[in-house]
Symmetry: C2
Subunit: 334 residues, 2 copies
């Protein structure tokens, strides 16, 4: 069962391939009404479907983009992807999704494969390990947009949260409720994971703004699996914090595991606010006060930037940073 090609419909309709092609591309300007009808009918009859691969080869556009996330299982990434897909769908673009797992080698391989497949552009949560590769991409004016992480060495438009503001909102909320001894729990600090860096500096700045000295004992930054032990240590030392901000959703969960285990009463014994909204925030006991990021808007923005770049190679938005506002959702944990 040979697939039908443009040549088949041309033959059947008694016209040339060119004319069929004109029809397919809706260039009806000079086309006779009868020819048009005839082609339309033949296509219907033969069940012809254009081969977009062939078109892509000629037109140098595949109408598909690559999206490289660290891990699609992170809910933020999922939401961003969903927003990107929705936006792309409106413009008839498709997305190829890739999980780089924060591994620069994997990231590199994906980028190279995506380019080989001629995707029209890439949206990436960069690992930080492929600066030269990205520089090469800029040099050939290849459309790329970064999400969530800034690579200062590289001039690529980036959309991310105002992470310092997120910490500020969290700390302010705690202060407003009378807590002064505020700790922060964080995952390990990798140099390129911008949100972690900025959220910590935001935490420090927020304290400073209120003339509260930063107490190094109140800051934990550690691998997830060690977190519970370190939290225990922190909360059982002399003069422990009376409130905690969780740097992200992953950390929040570790805190919650710990407090459940130790039957610590929130907010009675310990106030808590988490950066990143979580699915269970509203019906947890107590309902969790969180700082949410507008993931869908951010994904949409990234898609918009990329498609604009694809359509108009000469935009000048390079190296622009697009910051989005976090949103404090007050509930019961503080």
């Amino acid at each position: 069962m040979k697939p039908i090609t443009i040549a088949d419909v041309a033959k059947h309709a008694g016209v040339s391939k060119s004319t069929v092609s004109q029809y397919l591309n809706q260039r009806y300007d000079y086309m006779g009404e009868k020819t048009k009808k005839r082609i339309e009918q033949t296509i219907e009859e033969l069940g012809y479907r254009p081969n977009i691969i062939a078109r892509s080869l000629k037109q140098k556009s595949t109408m598909t983009i690559g999206v490289i996330v660290a891990n699609i299982l992170h809910v933020f990434s999922t939401q961003v992807i969903r927003a990107i897909e929705d936006f792309c769908n409106e413009s008839n673009f498709h997305i190829i999704v890739c999980n780089a797992d924060d591994d620069p080698m994997k990231e590199k391989r994906y980028i190279e494969m995506l380019r080989a497949k001629q995707v029209d552009g890439i949206i990436a949560f960069p690992t930080g390990g492929n600066v030269e590769l990205y520089k090469g991409l800029i040099k050939v004016n290849y459309p790329v947009v970064f999400m969530d992480r800034i690579l200062p060495e590289v001039e690529i438009p980036t959309v991310l949260l105002d992470n310092e503001k997120a910490s500020l909102l969290a700390v302010d909320q705690l202060l407003k409720n009378g807590y002064k001894k505020i700790g922060m729990i964080a995952p390990p600090l990798s140099p390129y994971v911008t949100p972690r860096l900025e959220r910590i500096s935001g935490y420090k700045k927020a304290l400073q703004q209120h003339d509260i000295p930063f107490n190094p004992n109140y800051l934990i930054s550690s691998e997830i699996f060690e977190l519970e032990a370190k939290i225990n240590h922190m909360l059982t030392m002399a003069d422990p914090p009376e409130a905690l901000v969780a740097l992200n959703d992953r950390v929040l969960i570790e805190i919650l595991k710990y407090t459940k285990e130790q039957q610590i009463n929130i907010p009675g014994d310990l106030a808590l606010v988490g950066i990143d909204e979580v699915s269970f925030a509203s019906f947890y006991s107590p309902a969790l006060t969180t700082v949410a990021q507008p993931a869908f808007q951010m994904g949409k923005k990234a898609a918009e930037l990329l498609l604009n770049r694809i359509r108009d190679k000469d935009t000048d938005d390079f190296s622009k940073i697009y910051r989005f506002e976090p949103d404090l959702i007050k509930r019961e944990s503080c």
Copy 2:
């Protein structure tokens, strides 16, 4: 900046395009060692990267598959996609992901676009609204695998949970803990959403096995937004159920919202087990007893089936149903 083509490297290396192509495809059999070296070097020098689109056109294989889910935001779908991506990555396949939103029109559009883009196969959570389309796909022997939902009209291999067993595990656990008045809360019953149908029938069968008459008042099936009200009605009627099984994660959340609001003590006032594992199950208070589905294994299986079909068009696995075993995770809510 013209991209480098195979013709450029052929010229620079002083060989023919054919030879370069042989090199690229690692057919070194008859290639002189010097030629090989020379080509290798030229490629390096020019920074040549093959255009896979051109290759695809000739070879009729794009090394990419389409994945159509209802909504990537559902955690089950996310996990399945992650597993598919991992499996495909090992075989150098890429995945295009699409959200059909349970809309047959959207599904249809995606299928047609994916085929036009010549993807080598499709894994879909079918909506049920495109039976004829899928029949057409089988007729031309196009590789398709279904996930999660069965379309009885269509002979396509399908991987899904043993949903009846899932209900059975939930009910048994409740019975084992002495509860006899067991209700089930469900979302609306659409004809093609297999898991819902099977989980309800599983619930009924489980009761029957234990000679407990099915009480229609103990079964709610309703839109999510009405669920709280209906649960309230059920639990405040005369002789209410003393235990509930949540048909899926979405429903579980509604139950939890309700019980938190009404300060219902779980399992004291009401025992609870949810089908579908949820992220917060272990640190919720009480920790939630759930029935988990092996999402990653299921995704992997679907990918495996599809890639096998793509490689060997003549496998005979049509219409096979691949059932996966649910797993009861005992915690505190029952």
